[in-house]
Symmetry: C2
Subunit: 259 residues, 2 copies
């Protein structure tokens, strides 16, 4: 590639999170980097967009890297929309989101702000990847992720991605020498068994905290959960055409006439 | 069915919205209804959940119907989690969400709080349906939807739904006599061409409003957009396994070795 690729970077933990700093560091070795990321943590925002409120964007300098950075008051999906439509003067060659502090494997993809940004870029027909490390700590160590982030990003730049497909990449919480390599996977069937922690506020009113336990319901060895538990980096191609095509024929046999 | 079905109802426009009132009215003719819905509008919230803040739930009476109602400070997905795990003493037989004021067809499913609630119930293995009317007005007329809502809900109660599948139902903005019937569809390929409306606040600081134009990129006659434009109620089976299975083999041919 004669011209350096233009790379749009975002995340959902906020622009100052160590995970996005590690991602920017790697992207600076690949191309020209523009960051548009939330000014505060947005975890669990799913694919939220800001339609009933205003958006602020500010050019900022967070570290000494050569990237250009904008901090945004909106959600990860807002950041992509703003980056593509308002801030960048040409279409990015790739969009990367993360590195998230915490897993976005299996069903977590549904709740993930990191992945919503990657999907938003995918909807805009921009090849895109969400990266997450299975470690919720703010001081998580992203070193082991870096060479994999670089390799996967370069492969996507080289091959492109099929229309309507983005990549969901998760890293196990392991040292680099313990990681066995990359596995292409499917999303494991899993859910959260929620418990609500009920408390009383100082005024005596009940309130709840959402807590929960992740439950893997899938014993397949071709899943992202299996890969992560067994020391691999999981790469799941995901799509935003949610149609359950296999159900259409069956539904056509139902009787929808008024009774 | 000897015992009446237990129906959990929610939405994303807020518990007082005319759309959910119409939905409750229909559900009261089918079973025992418990409403757990947001205390304020949550449109565009995608699949957001409340993990860093507290949740309040209050038993309320909004109208004279026989339903039991709870108003919740959280998102539509929170309402389902709270309903299933905390409020109801047995699993609901079905969950219905809506009727949304505005379309959730094609790509809008991704941004939809209405559909996130339906998907959340699906993750809990509860048959579930999201209903939306293609009319953003608060004073939209839901009369034409009612018999279809009833028929579709009864069909789902009778047949169940395949594991991992929920229904996304959209109604055209038409009088009942103009609606041609129900079409089982796939999600149309579409996107939003966003424009940001840039303004200055009274302090002279720039801010943006997100605006946009919906663009249908799909000329298939088997899509929800085609159905709605041609006077049909669209029913799309959707899934929350986002794996793009057709891409796995190709990705396995990439070279992920370190360079």
């Amino acid at each position: 590639m004669l011209k350096k690729p233009l790379i749009l970077v975002t995340n959902d933990d906020g622009i100052t999170a160590p995970g996005i700093r590690a991602l920017i560091e790697v992207m600076n070795t690949i191309g020209d980097v523009v960051v548009v990321a939330p000014d505060s943590p947005q975890s669990g925002m799913g694919h939220a967009i800001t339609i009933n409120s205003t958006l602020y964007v500010e050019k900022v300098t967070i570290d000494k890297g050569k990237q250009i950075e904008y901090s945004c008051s909106g959600t990860p999906a807002d950041c992509i929309k703003l980056g593509v439509r308002e801030i960048l003067d040409r279409r990015p060659d790739i969009c990367v989101s993360g590195i998230n502090h915490g897993s976005n494997s299996s069903i977590n993809v549904i709740y993930s702000g990191t992945m919503s940004a990657a999907i938003e870029a995918g909807i805009e027909d921009i090849p895109s990847i969400g990266f997450s490390l299975c470690d919720y700590n703010w001081s998580a160590n992203f070193d082991a992720c870096k060479t994999y982030v670089k390799t996967i990003t370069e492969q996507v730049l080289q091959h492109g991605l099929a229309k309507g497909v983005v990549l969901n990449v998760n890293f196990p919480k392991l040292d680099k020498k313990e990681i066995k390599g990359i596995k292409i996977c499917r999303q494991a069937r899993a859910n959260w068994e929620e418990k609500f922690d009920k408390r009383k506020n100082p005024q005596g009113r009940d309130y709840y905290w959402l807590t929960g336990k992740f439950v893997n319901l899938d014993d397949g060895k071709d899943t992202d959960e299996w890969a992560l538990e067994n020391g691999y980096v999981s790469v799941v191609p995901i799509q935003f055409d949610l149609t359950a095509h296999h159900c259409i024929q069956h539904l056509n046999s139902w009787d929808f006439n008024e009774k």
